[in-house]
């Protein structure tokens, strides 16, 4: 090896050591991995890297605090942008920002997924001045995130505490993994105290409890860096390289629960709760279900799975939580998941068992109508294959959001436990015959009338009657559900429909 080649390799090796010793100590003390060790959990090797020599003039600013390049996951090339916290706390300087943007633009041109490993204290204020709004600066990150959205998968992991500017990168990703001790917020506790006088810890402001349970801004929580990396690899296994492709197939696997059990999973009494995840286990390939936002609005279950080896997205009402009622939060959750699946050509399975959208003053103030509309809109606009299964209750407008017959699903299947009605018998009888019922003075006689009216009302939505009127396409025995779903998704794999000509809808 000649001298000039040796020098380059030595210089590169020095840069790959990252920040100064105190930076490494700080990272170790926080229980976090050095970025290049972290990257080994994702990729067998960093195969390409650009901008390694950024800020070569300053030995303390190795690669300017960010590693950008590509590696291979399950045989597929994937771009990455990974903060180096050992270099000035991963702060975003001018060259750092340029590298970040170059990697985003490369992923978009190459039509490949991009992974963001975020461990950054934010903009490097002494360098940025007022230039954080310039094109080519940190300000353009979010413009590029927006352009990449739905074109190529953007997957994020949040490692540290991340405030202001850089806290937007995590929330712009399609799917975000948050480390259990990480935090993100629009402003740091110090800023919050100055601005409004509130004293708060990073954890209470934007920790896992806040974002996984209350704000719904993260999709997964990881206990360790190994788990976070494994989750990202798994997430990518359900996604195509871009909106042009289809998710990768896998060998089919039998379900974890025998589909013969489905009938017994569903209680006879329509008002009794049960765990819809047991039903999912009896439908999908064993070990294939990856629940998304499991801790947020759990009255609606969303997640990826495989059915006969092919990827599907599942949207299921959860009767075990709040009776499976759709709340403003679950409507948002459902809308975003449906939108995500449609963007990446993932067929949708809806498992319907809901008494409808929640009612009352609280949810009206929380915009149940406006946010419920988003869920209905997302379903109506999803052009991927869609199958709706009426498992049990389908009351009110809930079934609109759940891809009911009026929403052009490719097929609507019903199990014998299905009930489709404007509302349940108790409410309906009370609404329609209120005056008549109140006019009867004898309580016994009144009770008999109510019972008779309810029975009449129930007969009106008997599922055999509705199947006879072709309200549902087919009534099927529960044990046949898995095989029927496999057939339908296979039949509609090449489905292609066009939405009306327009720039875009006005609903968001």
């Amino acid at each position: 090896m000649g001298e000039r080649e040796r020098r380059l390799i030595e210089e590169r090796e020095r840069i790959r050591q990252g920040g100064p010793p105190r930076g490494h100590e700080r990272q170790r003390a926080a229980g976090k991995l050095f970025v290049r060790d972290r990257l080994r959990l994702f990729f067998d090797a960093v195969e390409t890297e650009t901008g390694t020599f950024a800020r070569y003039d300053d030995p303390e600013l190795a690669a300017d605090g960010v590693v950008t390049g590509s590696g291979t996951i399950d045989g597929r090339p994937v771009f990455f942008i990974a903060s180096d916290y050992t270099v000035k706390a991963g702060s975003v300087g001018v060259r750092h920002a340029q590298k970040f943007l170059a990697a985003q633009k490369a992923a978009l041109r190459a039509r490949r997924p991009i992974v963001y490993l975020v461990d950054s204290s934010g903009a490097r204020i002494d360098e940025t001045g007022g230039h954080h709004v310039d094109p080519g600066s940190i300000g353009e990150f979010y413009y590029m995130h927006s352009l990449l959205s739905g074109a190529v998968p953007q997957i994020g992991v949040l490692y540290g505490t991340c405030f202001a500017g850089t806290a937007y990168t995590p929330v712009f990703t399609d799917l975000l993994v948050m480390m259990k001790d990480a935090a993100m917020a629009i402003a740091s506790p110090r800023m919050v105290e100055v601005a409004i006088g509130q004293k708060v810890t990073p954890e209470a402001l934007g920790g896992v409890e806040v974002h996984a349970k209350k704000s719904g801004s993260v999709h997964f929580v990881a206990e360790s860096e190994e788990e976070a990396a494994a989750l990202v690899r798994r997430i990518l296994s359900y996604l195509p390289d871009s909106s042009d492709g289809r998710p990768p197939s896998a060998p089919p696997v039998d379900p974890a629960r025998d589909p013969e059990e489905i009938d017994a999973i569903l209680p006879e009494d329509p008002n009794r709760p049960y765990d819809v995840r047991h039903l999912i286990e009896a439908i999908v390939d064993a070990e294939s279900f990856l629940e998304v936002k499991a801790m947020y609005a759990p009255e609606l279950v969303t997640g990826f799975a495989r059915l006969g080896g092919e990827v599907i997205g599942i949207v299921a009402n959860q009767p075990a939580v709040k009776g499976g009622t759709i709340f403003p939060e679950s409507a948002d959750k459902g809308a975003e998941f449906v939108w995500l699946c449609d963007a990446y050509n993932i067929p949708l399975l809806y498992l319907v068992d809901t008494p409808g959208f929640m009612v009352g003053t609280l949810v009206e103030q929380n915009a149940i109508l406006r946010r419920g509309r988003k869920f209905i809109f997302a379903t109506a606009s999803a052009t991927v294959p869609r199958v709706s299964v009426v498992v049990r209750k389908a009351y009110g407008a809930g079934i609109y959001a759940m891809s009911g017959p009026a929403f052009h699903p490719d097929v609507t299947l019903a199990l014998p436990s299905a009930e489709i009605a404007v509302m349940g018998p108790e409410a309906a009888v009370n609404a329609v015959y209120y005056n008549k019922i109140q006019a009867i003075e004898d309580p016994e006689e009144r009770k008999r009338l109510v019972e008779r009216l309810r029975a009449e009302y129930r007969a009106g939505y008997d599922i055999y009657k509705l199947a006879g009127e072709l309200v549902v396409d087919e009534l099927i025995p529960p044990k046949e559900l898995r095989t029927q779903l496999m057939r339908y998704f296979e039949l509609f794999r090449e489905k292609h429909i066009e939405l009306p000509r327009r720039k875009h809808a006005t609903i968001l």
């Binding site: 939580v321 709040k322 009776g323 009622t325 929640m358 609280l362």
Partner: protein
């Protein structure tokens, strides 16, 4: 140390009595809401101090149903 209503509805059944010990995850109240049974479990172990909302009472989301004294 309270057990709160996860959603608005009416108290259908109270499953515990004052002085009774409850375990984490034990159902203490069943609400009726949207014509569904909504079981409400204790998030921690303790002893029932008071039944705050009786059967048939309307409760808003977040209201206290049962007050618990934490287990020693």
């Amino acid at each position: 140390m309270d057990v709160r209503a996860p959603m608005s509805g009416t108290v259908w059944k109270v499953l515990v009595r004052p002085g009774e010990r409850v375990e984490t995850g034990q159902e203490v109240v069943i609400l009726e809401s949207m014509k569904m049974e909504i079981p409400v479990a204790a998030e921690f172990a303790g002893t029932v101090e008071a039944i705050v909302k009786g059967e048939g009472e309307y409760v808003d989301e977040g209201e206290v149903l049962v007050r618990l004294a934490p287990a020693p």
